[in-house]
């Protein structure tokens, strides 16, 4: 497949976006924020429009909510980097997070979507807000002259926007050129089979709710003692049910397959996390621990000790050591 969209159009859009973002960034004096924002939005919309036209031809249009969430996310991100007030920036960032979590839901990552809202919007951003409020005096509304200079004036906005959008152009060129060679390789059924096999009690419960189990019956257990796996086959849609009283087994026909017998996103993610990446999660734990220690140490009040005092202290400690 050749480029998804005309490269020239892409680069023009990137250039327009760069100009728009550059204009939208905070400056003292005449503000070009609104026209800049419109320009940037138009550039982004142009690219998405071209993409969508192409996708429409191939019947691969994304869900309509994608456009909503994408617009929300990019718009609030733009507003976040252009707003001269840190508190507003943080709040816009929360909006970006929420829009992103919507995109996550669109992508069938429900667990991560809610985790994102809880962790980011709920924890991290609140910390940011604390610090912002700690370090910034709340200015009188609309009085930009009282604004701290480092908030009111961006640093070389056009150059930075240029660099950033060249990067965007390169990235999108790579993405659009390379997509043709991509193809899904994983076998989702096999993954789900593994996850569902390892959840016999959940299978029992679903079968019971569906009224498929008699008394003393449960889904067949595979493996030896202590390794209990549900005896189901998702591909052939067969389930083996055993009777614990009589030690007899029977099979359910594929037509009897309960509708909601499937692994949830959370179960899949949990399985992937704990079964496939146990080392990584250990490391993540260590990183968090170190961050906690580091933050604790850093935020203690630092006592300035000059060299003489240090030497004096060292002598005192030394003599104390010697006497003891």
């Amino acid at each position: 497949m050749d480029a998804l969209i005309n490269p020239l159009a892409l680069y023009i859009a990137c250039a327009l976006g760069a100009v728009g973002v550059g204009l939208a960034l905070p400056t003292r004096g005449v503000s070009w924020r609104v026209p800049g924002g419109i320009l940037a939005a138009g550039a982004g919309g142009l690219v998405v429009l071209l993409l969508s036209l192409k996708a429409y031809d191939n019947d691969q249009l994304p869900n309509v909510y994608f456009y909503v969430f994408a617009a929300l996310a990019l718009g609030s991100a733009l507003r976040m980097i252009t707003h001269p007030r840190p508190v507003y920036s943080a709040l816009y960032f929360i909006l970006t997070i929420i829009a992103s979590s919507g995109v996550y839901v669109l992508l069938a990552a429900e667990f991560m979507a809610f985790a994102l809202i809880i962790i980011y919007a709920g924890a991290i951003l609140i910390t940011y807000l604390f610090v912002i409020m700690l370090a910034t005096q709340a200015p009188v509304e609309g009085d930009e002259e009282l604004q701290a200079d480092y908030d009111a004036q961006a640093h070389e906005p056009m150059i930075a926007a240029g660099v950033g959008f060249v990067l965007l152009a390169v990235l999108t060129t790579m993405i659009f050129n390379g997509l043709g060679s991509l193809s899904p390789k994983s076998d989702p059924v096999a993954q789900e089979q593994v996850v569902l096999e390892s959840l016999p009690i959940k299978v029992d419960r679903i079968l019971d709710e569906a009224g498929l189990l008699q008394e003393h019956e449960r889904v067949g257990r595979l493996g030896g003692e202590g390794v209990s796996k549900a005896a189901i086959n998702i591909e052939r849609r067969t389930i083996v049910i055993e009777n614990t009283q009589t030690n007899t087994t029977r099979s359910l026909s594929p037509e009897q397959w309960p509708k909601d017998l499937s692994a949830t996103n959370t179960e899949m993610v949990g399985s992937s996390l704990l079964v496939d990446h146990p080392g990584a999660i250990e490391i993540a734990g260590v990183i968090l621990l170190m961050a906690m220690l580091g933050a604790t140490v850093l935020s203690r009040r630092q006592v300035e000790i000059d060299e003489d005092a240090k030497a004096h202290e060292a002598r005192r400690l030394h003599s104390a050591e010697a006497s003891s």
Partner: protein
């Protein structure tokens, strides 16, 4: 070590000369001679070892800061011991190896062999001593004069008592050791070691007053000029080894190769002798010219007079400068096989003799006059070697050693007494001052010898050379030049004597006070001590009183004067072989009568069988009269031109005050020529123009090249990172945004590269 120990045990018996051969047997020398037998005489090694012992004890004295004359007397003792040992060798020589040369092996020094194991090429240069009569002759006067001059120096250097005094005697002893290695070594490499050693000691002792720029310059000049000669010597030694495969005299002289060449030379078949073999002598000659201050490398010797006078007397008059003569005498067979070597030697010697004499005539510094006289006399010796009379040359070396040492020591006494005054225009009538009689008599004896006055030792030795110059065909022109030079010699010698020692008493002190010397080395020595210890207290009173020499100087002068007179007697001992020296020489490699040079002897004897004639007579007979008359003419000329009025000037002179004489008006007749002679014919300036200036120009050019090209490149390489850093420095603004932009830009560039590469690949 064993040999040394037994030698030490053996000393008492040795000094009484009662002991015969010592009990111990030295190790046989590796690759030792066929021609010279191994005779175990390990105590002979003590001759060079005693001076080394003197070096050590003088050094120890320096360490303990001895402020007495102890090191001097210890030195005298060591050197006298060496002299007595040499005397013992001389007296008992016939009993050692039936009168034949022998080798005393001390220890293995260099002993290599390589190549095919069945026929290895070997190189042996051991610390062994080759004792023949030439060696003994040389060692006799070297150690004897060294002991005497050390005694003289004990007084002469007394104003420096202390560390510098020790330093002087360390150098002095080291010199005698080096000279012994040079003379006694049984191979050319050991000779080279000694050769370099005496050069080093010469450098150290000329530069003894190392705070005096002239002395330092003179020392450097001597050392550097000698380098040129030493290069020739080293190349000669290499060539000897390459051609003959050995550097040991005994093997070399006995080799069939050399004997074959000598036969060929005797029959004038020069083309049968390879050029490499003929070249050896010429290369050795370069070394000899450097060390013996011959034209064109003589320029260092007059300047070397900046050193203390005992050094001038011993090193630069009596011994070291005769090393060149010794080298030629020792390697005489090698010179005989070279077609051009001996004629070159003769001509170099003659030119040097004449040139130095003419310069000497015009000088006013009495030590410099003596220095030029030394150069001139060395020229005579070379001429003697060149005209095939090694006997004459060696005899002249011997007599010259005595009388020139005497002359120098007399000049030194004058210098010592008159606070460094050496200008003959400012001294007069010294002989009549109180306490200067012995010096005056010594000076007179020396001057008579040097002038070749009838029946003095110098007369006989010079005659032998002059006569032989007329006898040897083709060299009579040299004879005439040398006779003329003898007249000049007599003139400038007696010029000094008449001016300085006779006439009205007058003396101006030199500007060089002994205190100057003392201060140079002895900041630790107080002035009070110094002046009290020495007799210069009068100088501090404002009026100058010369102080006559003390007992040590007088004793040495007396001994040397007697020696100079008695040396004439040597001519009459063993008349068959041209005197005692001839007898000594004839048994060594230096003689063409020696067994090593039999064939050449025949040839030269035939061709030069006393065919030369002078005034129709045999030159050996007539020369006595001719040279006697010439010498007398020179003396009378000096008396007329420089002698004082009255009988002291033999009623010929007219000088009434120190600075004025008839010569002043006579000199005007010659126009600028005396001026040129006084300026040494501008030879130094010529050398500066020819060698020093171009080298200096090159040095400046190379310096510029180094500075602007090499340094520029090096500095450029060094500055490049700096320049790059300066160019890159603004990127490190410290602004976080700057780093972020850099990071993002870098990422962009990397991604573009990846994109281009992948795009190109797909």
């Amino acid at each position: 070590m064993e040999t040394m120990l037994t030698s030490l045990i053996d000393i008492p018996s040795l000094l009484t000369l009662a002991s015969a051969v010592p009990a111990s047997v030295s190790e046989p020398a590796h690759g030792a001679a066929v021609g010279a037998a191994q005779v175990p005489q390990p105590w002979v090694a003590l001759i060079p070892m005693l001076p080394i012992f003197g070096v050590i004890i003088a050094g120890v004295c320096a360490i303990f800061d001895v402020r007495t004359k102890l090191p001097a007397f210890l030195t005298v003792g060591c050197l006298a011991g060496s002299f007595l040992l040499t005397l013992a060798v001389f007296l008992r020589y016939d009993s050692f190896n039936h009168g034949d040369p022998f080798v005393v092996h001390l220890f293995d020094w260099i002993n290599l062999s390589w190549g095919d194991p069945s026929h290895p090429t070997s190189f042996a240069a051991n610390f062994s001593f080759y004792i023949d009569k030439l060696t003994v002759l040389w060692m006799l006067f070297v150690t004897g004069l060294a002991a005497l001059i050390a005694l003289y120096a004990s007084e002469y250097m007394s104003h420096d008592v202390g560390r510098a005094y020790c330093r002087f005697f360390v150098g002095f002893n080291l010199f005698v050791f080096s000279m012994a290695c040079l003379v006694m070594g049984d191979n050319l490499v050991l000779l080279y070691l000694g050769w370099e050693g005496v050069g080093l000691c010469s450098y150290l002792l000329i530069g003894y007053f190392y705070k005096k720029p002239a002395a330092v310059a003179a020392a450097k000049k001597a050392f550097i000029v000698n380098r040129i000669g030493d290069l020739g010597l080293a190349l000669g030694i290499y060539l000897t080894f390459v051609h003959f495969g050995t550097v040991q005299y005994s093997e070399l002289f006995a080799s069939d190769q050399l004997q074959g060449y000598l036969t060929a030379a005797g029959e004038h078949r020069w083309s049968d002798i390879p050029m490499t073999a003929q070249g050896i002598a010429l290369l050795l000659l370069v070394g000899a010219i450097g060390k013996s201050a011959q034209f064109p490398l003589y320029v260092w010797l007059p300047d070397a007079m900046e050193g203390p006078t005992p050094v001038s007397a011993l090193i630069h008059a009596a011994t070291m400068v005769t090393a060149g003569v010794f080298l030629i005498a020792r390697a005489y067979p090698l010179f005989l096989i070279s077609e051009f070597a001996l004629p070159t030697v003769a001509w170099v010697g003659t030119i040097t003799a004449l040139l130095a004499a003419t310069i000497g005539m015009a000088q006013f510094d009495i030590k410099r006059i003596m220095a030029y006289s030394t150069v001139s006399q060395l020229g005579y010796m070379f001429a003697g070697l060149g005209v095939l009379t090694t006997t004459g040359a060696a005899f002249h070396v011997l007599t010259h050693a005595f009388f020139k040492a005497l002359l120098f020591l007399c000049c030194g006494a004058v210098m010592h007494g008159f606070a460094g005054q050496l200008d003959l225009r400012k001294l007069s009538g010294v002989a009549w001052m109180k306490g200067w009689g012995i010096v005056a008599i010594g000076m007179l004896v020396g001057c008579l010898n040097l002038s070749g006055f009838a029946f003095t030792a110098g007369f006989f030795s010079k005659d032998m050379i002059l006569a032989e110059a007329f006898v040897t065909p083709g060299y009579s022109i040299l004879g005439w030049i040398l006779i003329g030079t003898a007249g000049l010699t007599a003139y400038y010698t007696f010029r000094v004597f008449f001016r300085v020692f006779l006439g009205p008493q007058h003396a101006e002190p030199g500007d060089e006070h002994h205190d100057d010397h003392a201060e140079q080395d002895h900041t630790d020595e107080t002035d009070d001590h110094h002046t009290a210890a020495h007799g210069h207290a009068a100088e501090h009173g404002g009026r100058f009183h010369p102080h006559p020499p003390g007992w040590a100087i007088n004793t040495v002068l007396v001994i040397l004067a007697i020696g100079s007179i008695l040396a004439a007697g040597l001519y009459f001992i063993e008349k068959d072989s041209h005197g005692w020296v001839g007898a000594m020489i004839n048994d060594s490699s230096a003689s063409y009568h020696s067994p090593y040079a039999d064939h050449a002897d025949v040839a030269h004897a035939e061709e030069g069988a006393h065919t030369g004639l002078l005034f129709g007579q045999d030159p050996h007979q007539i020369m006595y009269y001719v040279s006697g008359v010439v010498g007398l003419i020179g003396i009378l000329l000096a008396a007329i031109l420089h002698g004082p009025r009255g009988w002291q000037g033999l009623f010929l002179g007219g000088r009434t005050e120190a600075g004025k004489c008839r010569m002043d008006s006579v000199a005007k007749l010659f126009g600028p020529i005396p001026r040129w002679a006084e300026d040494k014919w501008y030879v130094d300036e010529l050398y500066i123009a020819i060698f020093q200036t171009p080298l200096r120009v090159f040095a400046h050019l190379f310096h510029l090249f180094d500075k602007f090209v090499i340094d520029a490149i090096v500095d450029g390489v060094a500055k490049l990172p700096g320049a790059l850093a300066s160019a890159l420095r603004p990127s490190q603004s410290g602004q976080l945004q700057g780093y972020a932009a850099g990071m993002a830009g870098g990422m962009v560039v990397l991604l573009i590269i990846v994109l281009v590469v992948i795009g190109g690949a797909s």
